[in-house]
């Protein structure tokens, strides 16, 4: 039971870290798309 709890906590920590990476990735992609769109669409 204890091993299961520790295992679940470790998985939880990995999940939380991946979740923060996911948020950063989403905003990085948005930033990249915006800068690309500015060049392609508006030519600036």
């Amino acid at each position: 039971m204890r091993i299961k709890t520790i295992g679940s906590s470790v998985l939880g920590i990995i999940f939380e870290i991946l979740f923060t990476v996911f948020i950063m990735a989403v905003f990085f992609i948005i930033s990249s798309l915006i800068t690309l769109a500015r060049v392609w669409v508006f030519g600036i």
């Binding site: 939880g12 950063m24 915006i34 800068t35």
Partner: protein, 502 residues
């Protein structure tokens, strides 16, 4: 009718306050260890003096106010409100003894900024401050972020009684993770310590790879972790995160800031296997939406000004300031004056909105908090639906926060009252700033930063700012961290002492 406080009320408050002050005395011994490790003799004595003062005053209170009476809600609120003031005062003693503060008021400002996890700073010549004092600045954030009462509950003193829950809840924590408040406090520490070890290892390694010496890399790593995870904002260097010029370090701190803004209850659910909760929880959904809205505002303005034409600088500067503001951390990779001179008014408004909104309840962040925004929004949807449906229809709105909850008037009322109080606090600080001659937007920025415990500065917070404004910001940081009710009860108690019925 208010009853005049009895001598027993003062005894109950004094007795618990004595315990909390003793706990603070123990915490102050940690920088002594750092001082010994780094061979800093004079700072060690500063902390021994401060710790001794804590023990003397704490034990005196324990002896004078000895009582077995149970703490009620009023006592809990007053104990917490006073504990934070006393902690800021006592925590300022070693800082003042360092000689890096112009006055004791400045040291109190720094101490309150630390305990309330704000991050506004008045230290002079930070780069030459001893490592021991620097460690204390960050440790005060770690202690304040988890809660002074949480420390006392988890380590050694108040038993798991109803009184323990009352003072725990008074520290602006609406929820407990586990049925027992002591277990809750210990779980909060478990999460924090696990991430402290992981975060320090990662940040220390990154700092070492970026060229810092091994000892300094891990010292800076521990300090940055404590300030990032507790959404504080102090850094061991005077130029904040700009000093390191490291994309990797900024990425790690963004992760820590997000983790710090998550509800401890949600951490518990994730750690025990209920990971879907992240996507269903009203707080996380609201945080996502408000993050996107404020990001859009900043993006529009930065594009209009053509400040960062390439995607990586655009992300590093724009997103970093935003996440730092929204999580209430206050880390910045810009100079304060860049906000004024380079960023436009619209992006400043975006940052102010993000600062004002804050992170999750039962986390280390300040501000209005996502749950309250979500509840108000749900209530608005319910009202609109009610108008559009036939009059006889009874509509039941629900929201998911760890479980399905039926939206009731009491939820909306509590959320609206707190939001209104925060708006009042932000505006009051801005008006005071304008009274001292600062422009409106800059005053509002700094006021929101102080009241929402963020720590981003537009340049108002300096050693030379008026002393009255320093006091106002101290009070804003205090009120913002405790979310008002404890402070109103303390004021009511003072009024009752003079005008209450015998």
């Amino acid at each position: 009718m208010i009853l005049r406080p009895q001598i027993n009320d003062l005894k109950i408050i004094g007795f618990s306050l004595g315990k909390l002050i003793c706990a603070l005395g123990f915490v102050m011994l940690l920088p002594v260890v750092i001082g010994v490790v780094f061979s800093e003799a004079s700072p060690v004595f500063d902390f021994l003096i401060a710790s001794e003062l804590c023990f003397i005053s704490g034990i005196l209170l324990l002896l004078l106010c000895r009582t077995q009476t149970e703490i009620d809600w009023m006592h809990g609120m007053i104990i917490v409100a006073l504990a934070w003031l006393v902690a800021a005062f006592l925590g300022a003693i070693p800082l003042y003894l360092s000689g890096h503060f112009v006055s004791f008021l400045d040291a109190c400002f720094e101490s309150m900024s630390g305990f309330s996890t704000t991050g506004l700073t008045l230290v002079k010549d930070l780069d030459h401050l001893s490592l021991t004092h620097n460690f204390w600045r960050h440790l005060s954030m770690f202690v304040g972020g988890q809660g002074i009462v949480v420390i006392a509950l988890s380590v050694f003193m108040i038993k798991g009684s109803a009184g323990a829950f009352r003072i725990y809840a008074s520290e602006a924590r609406d929820e407990r993770v586990l049925p027992n408040v002591i277990s809750t406090a210990r779980f909060i520490w478990l999460v924090s310590i696990v991430y402290l070890v992981l975060g320090t290892l990662v940040l220390g390694t990154v700092g070492f790879l970026e060229g810092l010496s091994l000892k300094r890399a891990f010292f800076d790593g521990a300090c940055i972790f404590m300030a990032a995870f507790d959404t504080g904002g102090f850094t061991p260097r005077s130029q904040n995160m700009l000093y390191y010029h490291s994309f990797l370090l900024e990425t790690v701190t963004v992760s820590l800031m997000i983790l710090g803004a998550i509800n401890f209850n949600l951490h518990y659910h994730i750690w025990t296997g209920n990971r879907k909760e992240v996507f269903k929880n009203i707080e996380m959904r609201t945080l996502g939406i408000t993050l996107l809205i404020t990001f859009a505002i900043i993006v529009v303005d930065l594009l209009r000004l053509n400040l960062y034409p390439q995607s990586i600088p655009f992300f590093r500067k724009g997103f970093y300031q935003l996440i730092s503001a929204h999580t209430g951390t206050g880390y910045s990779n810009l100079y304060s004056m860049q906000f004024v001179r380079e960023w436009g008014n619209l992006s400043l408004v975006g940052i102010i909105m993000a600062m004002g909104l804050g992170g999750s309840i039962c986390s280390t962040t300040g501000g209005i908090k996502a749950l309250r925004v979500g509840v108000i929004f749900k209530s608005l949807i319910q009202d609109v639906k009610q108008i559009m449906l036939p009059e006889s229809t009874v509509l039941q709105q629900k929201f998911h926060h760890l479980k399905m909850i039926v939206l009731e008037d009491k939820h909306v009322r509590a959320a609206v009252v707190t939001v209104l109080l925060y708006f009042t606090l932000y505006s009051a600080g801005a008006i005071c700033g304008m009274f001292f001659g600062y422009p409106f937007l800059e005053s509002l920025f700094e006021s929101t930063s102080a009241a929402a415990n963020v720590g981003l500065s537009i340049g108002i917070t300096t050693v030379t700012m008026p002393s009255a404004l320093k006091v106002i910001y101290i009070l804003q940081m205090w009120a913002g961290r405790l979310e008002f009710i404890s402070i109103f009860v303390l004021l009511g108690f003072i009024v009752a002492a003079f005008k209450g019925k015998k």
